[in-house]
């Protein structure tokens, strides 16, 4: 009997739904008043919080200018199904474009297909993912690591024994970064990589790896590592009571603070900027306005080499003790600014200790990507 009541309820619901099918009027070519959604697939560290904050700041700015009528943001903690639900909800809310930082590059197909079928623009933001008829705007891991490797090679004048600490083995970003390292090191036959081990982008892992290295090798001329692990490396040296050689560094406020305090430390800070998602917003707005991307600015998608749909966002800053805008590693980086450590500290003066040095391309710079 309860089933009959249930059936009646269900039938009623269905009838109600049938009668209220939304007719989607084909949108006129408009230049403002867009409604944009950001679906963020991970939400559990300062970096991602900063990413969302940057996006909100820029979206508010666009809203004041009238370019956006409104925007929506949803976050999930690595729950692929939840993200699909969120994207579907955005589609049903009638957004004009969706920016997606996917939980995993492969899990958003049905939502992307549905969005495309409704004529909604899909822009993959921050982390690369390969889907037909989408644009991908993501951080340029290759250039990011290349800058640091080139800087390190210059510091040791192209010769010596170095150790390498890598990120999470097999992770797409790590693979690209290590490729950059290999490409740079190939030009320096006199540099000997003693050993290499994954530090999993974790301070503690990096510290234990470095401690092992220190007990195994008497002479280490330089440490080539990636971002957050720098403080672990420093701790390992401090515990072993040894002098820290030249090393690549991190880009958080706490690292810069430490660096400023340590007179002898020779390092570099290149931000992998949370502002990447904001560049995706800037690109999405222009695409909605009917502008076309200049193909010369598109490169192959890191997830699918046959798909030429990706805009790589170079780091906004390169931080060295004294600014070196004319250095070899700055060549060809139009949107990257070489600044000094003091300038970086000034930029971060109001930020939290864990905050990353951040920035995103200006509207003028993004305009240059378009025809």
């Amino acid at each position: 009997m309860k089933k009959r009541v249930l059936a009646i309820i269900m039938a009623g619901l269905m009838a109600a739904s049938m009668s209220s099918v939304c007719a989607y009027a084909e949108a006129e070519e408009k230049t403002e008043g867009f409604y944009i959604g950001l679906s963020n697939g991970y939400w559990g560290n300062t970096w991602r919080a900063q990413m969302v904050e940057d996006f909100e700041t820029k979206a508010e700015e666009y809203k004041e200018q009238g370019i956006l009528s409104d925007y929506m943001i949803s976050n999930t903690n690595s729950d692929a199904t939840e993200q699909l639900n969120q994207i579907n909800a955005m589609i049903d809310s009638g957004v004009d474009a969706i920016l997606i930082d996917a939980v995993s590059p492969t899990t958003i197909k049905s939502a992307v297909e549905k969005a495309k079928a409704k004529g909604i623009l899909v822009v993959i933001a921050n982390d690369p993912a390969a889907y037909e008829d989408t644009i991908c705007v993501c951080g340029d891991n290759y250039t990011w690591q290349k800058i640091q490797a080139m800087w390190l090679m210059e510091q040791i004048e192209g010769k010596g024994d170095i150790v390498k600490i890598t990120g999470v083995s097999g992770n797409a970003a790590d693979t690209i970064r290590e490729q950059a390292n290999d490409d740079v090191l190939a030009d320096y036959p006199d540099v000997n990589v003693l050993t290499s081990a994954p530090g999993n982008w974790s301070q503690t892992d990096a510290q234990s790896v470095m401690t092992t290295f220190l007990s195994s090798y008497d002479n280490i001329d330089a440490v080539l590592e990636q971002d957050v692990m720098a403080e672990g490396v420093i701790k390992a040296y401090e515990n072993a009571n040894k002098d820290i050689p030249v090393m690549t560094g991190d880009y958080t406020k706490s690292f810069f603070t430490k660096w400023a305090e340590m007179e002898d430390l020779n390092t570099i800070g290149v931000p992998y900027a949370p502002g990447n998602a904001t560049v995706a917003l800037e690109v999405a707005v222009r695409l909605l306005q009917g502008k076309e991307i200049d193909e010369s600015n598109l490169v192959a998608n890191p997830m699918d080499e046959n798909m030429i749909n990706t805009i790589m966002v170079a780091p906004p800053y390169v931080v060295t003790k004294e600014a070196q805008p004319d250095a070899a590693w700055m060549e060809g980086l139009e949107n990257t600014e070489a600044i000094s450590l003091d300038e970086a500290m000034e930029l971060l003066k109001d930020s939290a200790d864990t905050a990353a040095l951040d920035g995103y391309m200006s509207d003028e710079a993004v305009d240059k990507l378009f025809k």
Binding site: N75, A89, D92, S104, S110, A111, M303
Partner: protein, 324 residues
């Protein structure tokens, strides 16, 4: 009137009510519920619903299964890998389903025959299954022919969406089981293991069965999710285990066993899913989204538990009154 009373006192009713109310709210917020909304809702959440059905079966016998999410991931990577190794889509899906059944039987063996506490046993196997999934496909990637997705997003028998059929298979199977003496035994076992054992119920076999059924449910969930994303991700199901248990509890299934039914799991999972849509549609600031979602969930759980509790009381009264 009698019918209405019966519906209201149904274990799964609070969850159904919550679902319908929130569905309505969602409809108001997005300006009408479209057919396409229902279609994408069911295709996105069929996996979660299947897992909730599976876990409900294990909870009914006063057990639990927290390895189902890992099995879903495993099925996903098996299907993708098998397809890339040259199997056809149906063959790959069958392989995935079989591996899920094997996992379920393995759980059933450990819990039923070896008599290890189900929470501990499935905690261990969940890590193992997730590990195997990661071993088979270490990184997200791979692809399945889009015909799989088209089949899943399309209809069967002309007008019924495929995900509904897939859920329907589990429901029908469970209803059949309930018609057998075994159905009664499952509830008896959930109410009191010792009495059930003393009454000659084969406890080991029943536990083996419910875990195998849960494995099958996870297998179908894996097929749903694989078809929906048409790609592989070794962690795709990782959050489903806990969500499914929450769904079952919201659906009036007692964690102590013996109370509730699979409809509870179905409506509980549906409510959890619609909740996500609501919070997004409400366009709240991202800092408060999780809070609001948690708050509504808390209220939902409290309401459904309170409602179920009333029934518990009357049942206890009836039981005591009947016996003495």
């Amino acid at each position: 009137m009698n019918k209405v009373k019966k519906l209201i006192s149904w274990n799964a009713f609070p969850a159904l009510l919550l679902f319908v109310i929130f569905l309505g709210i969602n409809g108001i917020m997005t300006g009408g519920l479209s057919v396409s909304f229902f279609r994408s809702f069911i295709s996105t959440n069929a996996g979660a619903i299947c897992v909730a059905i599976g876990v409900t079966a294990t909870i009914l016998v006063a057990g639990t299964d927290i390895s189902l999410g890992s099995i879903v991931s495993l099925v996903n990577v098996v299907i993708v890998t098998a397809f890339e190794k040259g199997f056809s889509v149906p063959q790959a899906a069958t392989l995935g389903l079989l591996s899920a059944l094997l996992c379920g039987m393995f759980n059933g063996f450990i819990v039923g025959v070896m008599r290890i506490n189900p929470l501990l046993a499935t905690f261990a196997t969940s890590t193992a299954f997730a590990g195997i999934a990661l071993w088979i496909l270490p990184y997200p990637g791979g692809y399945i022919d889009f015909s799989f997705g088209d089949w899943y997003l399309g209809n069967m028998f002309g007008f019924i969406p495929t995900p509904v059929i897939l859920i329907g298979i589990l429901v029908i199977l469970w209803i059949l089981v309930m018609k057998l003496p075994m159905g009664l035994h499952i509830y008896a076992l959930g109410k009191d293991v010792k009495k059930a054992y003393a009454s000659g119920i084969n406890v080991a076999a029943l536990r083996f069965f419910v875990h195998t059924f849960a494995g099958l449910a996870a297998g179908i969930a894996g097929i749903c999710i694989s078809a929906n994303i048409c790609a592989g991700s070794p962690t795709v199901g990782s959050t489903m285990s806990m969500n499914s248990i929450a769904a079952a509890v919201i659906g009036g299934v007692s964690l102590n066993g013996g109370i509730g039914g699979i409809w509870g799991g179905i409506f509980g999972a549906s409510f959890l899913s619609i909740l996500i849509s609501i919070v997004v549609s409400a366009n709240l600031s991202s800092v408060v989204q999780s809070f609001i979602q948690g708050l509504i969930l808390l209220i939902g759980v409290t309401v459904s538990i309170a409602a179920a509790d009333k029934e518990l009381k009357t049942k206890i009264k009836r039981a005591i009154g009947g016996k003495r």
